[in-house]
């Protein structure tokens, strides 16, 4: 019998194992799971964990990109590269298609589309009869997310009812739903932003290039740096400047802000985040600034 010394198990090992446990539980309990893959860092980590959970088998479920149509080209390229490398089945739930088919109102070519994602997401879930959707959301991101279960039950309309969540004790994740209902599963619930970055560094998880410092034309709007490009044009009084920036989150290109940063590698990013005094969403998401309970309101309507 081996007498090798005990391997060190740290905080990241426990988070990783717990996430893998949750992923396996959901896949075992649900009929048709799907992983929501935006190409952002959290969904990149989630996908990495899902692949580990079922290796050497192929991922036993597809991934779905809820596509607002306002993408950073670097992120789309990254998505396609991951799908090809890992041999995944990709479904795209398109906001543009929902607009074209008149299922949602057209916010105009420059309008924000994060709100419209909900409809595309729900339509995608319904079309493919998915009963569980994995998401990379973390409880440290937002005060409404801090309240949500790891397995979040959604009724026939896909909405979250924060007043009647299922009790979720110990490690007993209960995934039973009736036809037409679904679950959102958040294996990264207990991870912090710093945990995600430390894990990316430890595991060499590939990321879209826009997470690293690069020079690009930006303009300041509502106290946030937005990337000038296909979806952001200078309006009256706005000045286009070139700066060294990076993105702390990846979302709809029309409402995701960049931060001024010279951090062009993982060590530098981790050092930067360790001392920041602004939250991830506070720094980069215009859509959360409209109201006090923007996230809760969107979740009630069926958002991620």
């Amino acid at each position: 019998m081996s007498t090798s010394t005990h391997p060190q198990i740290d905080h990241l090992d426990l988070l990783e194992s717990h996430a893998i446990f949750i992923i396996r539980e959901v896949v075992a309990e649900c009929e048709r799971p799907v992983l929501l893959f935006s190409g952002g860092k959290d969904s990149a980590v989630l996908l990495h964990l899902a692949v580990k959970a079922f290796a050497p088998q192929k991922l036993p479920f597809p991934v779905m990109h809820v596509d607002t149509g306002h993408n950073f080209p670097e992120v789309l390229a990254y998505r396609d590269e991951r799908v090809a490398t890992l041999g995944l089945r990709l479904e795209v739930a398109s906001v543009q298609q929902a607009i074209d088919q008149g299922r949602v109102p057209d916010p105009g070519p420059l309008g924000m589309r994060n709100q419209l994602q909900t409809r595309a997401l729900l339509d995608g879930i319904e079309k493919h009869k998915f009963d569980a959707a994995f998401g990379g959301a973390r409880r440290d991101e937002d005060k409404a997310r801090a309240k949500e279960r790891v397995l979040s039950f959604r009724g026939a309309f896909g909405g979250w009812d924060p007043k009647s969540q299922r009790p979720e004790l110990w490690q007993l994740y209960q995934g039973k739903v009736n036809t037409g209902e679904n679950l959102r599963a958040f294996p990264l619930s207990d991870w912090t932003e710093l945990d995600v970055w430390n894990y990316i560094r430890r595991e060499n998880v590939p990321l879209p290039s826009i997470y690293f410092a690069h020079e690009r034309p930006v303009l300041k709007r509502d106290n946030m740096w937005l990337a000038v490009g296909e979806f952001i044009h200078p309006q009256q009084g706005e000045v286009v400047e070139r700066h060294l920036v990076r993105f702390r989150t990846v979302g709809d290109a029309s409402c995701t802000g960049a931060v001024r940063s010279g951090a062009d590698n993982l060590d530098a990013i981790i050092a930067e985040i360790s001392v920041t005094n602004v939250s991830e969403r506070g720094a980069t998401r215009a859509d959360d600034r409209f109201s006090e309970t923007a996230m809760e309101d969107r979740k009630r309507e069926g958002y991620f």
């Binding site: 391997p7 198990i9 090992d13 506070g282």
Partner: protein, 418 residues
């Protein structure tokens, strides 16, 4: 058993509504500088909007609109904090009796219960209920914040009365340690910074007590090693491995393991963890096992080492009932235990707990938020340990067969105080 090396403490706030749990957590997070500037600003804006002063600290964790409008906590908020000494996972639980099930959710994985009570009012029935549930769930260490001492004019007699009440309940419920700290969450005395109002108090602040409390106790156990099988992985070129998360103790390559409930023994040939091959699989790790013999094992079976768990169809358990509809003898439900789900029938109700006297009395049914002792019979055998020996293989939930709602939390056996 070997504990994870990382020093992480999970604690849950417990106690009655309006005694200041969320305010205390808000104070703790603000005074240890865990909040980002924009989060603090958002709390200030929300406070001003509702006319509740410059900074309503409860808004740090009470993030739902209804919670802020009504000034109560509805569901658990999870917050993450770190001091130079250790990391914390905080479950800020609701105090209202209507949301007891959410409190149980937050406390089920806690190492420590941080009990918050209004010092002038002492131990209310709801506080006693929460303490009972925490004790049933296996929490052994409690830190008691005797809050609102500013309102009590920092009167030592008020504090000492709380100490007496806590000591009495603590002894009954079998808590191994229970420090009582005089606190004003609102003013910040004895939360992070020492309070100067109580020169008669020499003990720790809440933060000091949290930094000193033993971590990892929620996962500790005195059973053998257990691997409830979640999934069978097909290997390239044939062969199968068995995936799951280890609990209870360690598995070592070359060791004899027993497949339950079949009772077949085999040898553990190889272990693969998330980062590759391992000689030893420790509790909390997700692994897959290669076994020496071809076995007919699948999801809901369990691999175990001595002392072995029990395979049974009939057992006694303690439950917390979460449904508006009372549980009656003969009721049919679904039970989820580790990775197995099976139909279950209630074959007897032995009694319910009076949280005031802590005595168990006879009962015909178990009502919402009551704690009861029951006899259960399952369709398929389940492989169990007593909850006191292993919180993973000793716990289960009951599920309504029609709505799929989780209607009870259950623990195999019964706590010493019952």
């Amino acid at each position: 058993m070997t504990e994870p090396t990382s020093d992480l403490l999970r604690f849950a706030t417990v106690g009655s509504v309006d005694d200041g749990k969320s305010t205390l957590i808000g104070r703790l997070l603000v005074d240890t500088r865990q909040l980002f500037d924009d989060q603090l600003e958002a709390v200030a804006t929300a406070s001003a909007k509702r006319g509740v002063g410059d900074l309503d600290l409860s808004f740090v964790t009470d993030g739902l609109r209804a919670e802020r409008d009504q000034g109560i906590t509805i569901d658990v908020a999870y917050r993450y904090a770190a001091t130079p000494t250790r990391k914390f996972v905080i479950a800020d639980c609701p105090g209202h009796v209507q949301y007891t099930r959410n409190m149980a959710t937050g406390a089920s994985t806690a190492d420590v219960a941080l009990v918050v009570l209004d010092a002038s009012k002492g131990l209310k029935e709801q506080t006693r209920r929460h303490l009972c549930i925490a004790a049933l769930l296996g929490v052994r260490n409690v830190i008691v914040a005797a809050n609102k001492m500013d309102v009590a004019k920092w009167d030592e007699a008020v504090y000492l009365a709380v100490v007496d009440q806590v000591n009495e309940v603590s002894a009954r419920l079998g808590f191994t340690s229970s420090v009582v700290i005089p606190v004003s969450a609102l003013a910040g005395d004895n939360v992070v910074d020492p309070g100067f109002m109580a020169n008669w108090y020499q003990g720790p602040t809440v933060l000091q007590a949290l930094e000193a409390a033993p971590a990892g106790s929620w996962a500790s156990s005195s059973s053998g090693a257990r691997l409830p099988i979640q999934w069978v992985l097909r290997q390239h070129g044939g062969g199968r491995t068995y995936a799951g998360m280890v609990n209870g103790g360690e598995f070592t390559v070359g060791q004899e393991v027993t497949l339950m409930p079949q009772g077949v023994t085999t040898v553990l040939k190889a272990i693969k963890g998330p980062r590759g091959g391992l000689e030893v699989a420790m509790p909390g790790l997700s692994v897959d096992f290669d076994l020496s013999d071809e076995t007919d094992a699948g999801r809901s079976d369990m691999l175990a080492t001595a002392p072995l768990p029990t395979s049974t169809n009939e057992f006694e358990a303690t439950i917390c009932w979460f449904s508006d509809k009372p549980l009656v003898n003969g009721a049919r439900l679904r039970l989820k235990h580790t990775t197995r789900s099976t139909p279950v029938r209630v074959t007897g109700i032995a009694g319910t707990l009076d949280v005031g006297t802590l005595d168990v009395g006879p009962a015909a049914e178990i009502a919402l938020n009551e704690i009861g002792l029951v006899h259960l019979a399952t369709a398929d055998p389940i492989v169990v340990d007593d909850y006191r020996d292993n919180r993973v293989t000793g716990s289960f939930i009951l599920i309504d067969e029609v709505t799929n709602a989780t209607v009870a939390a259950g623990m195999i056996g019964h706590a010493n105080f019952l």
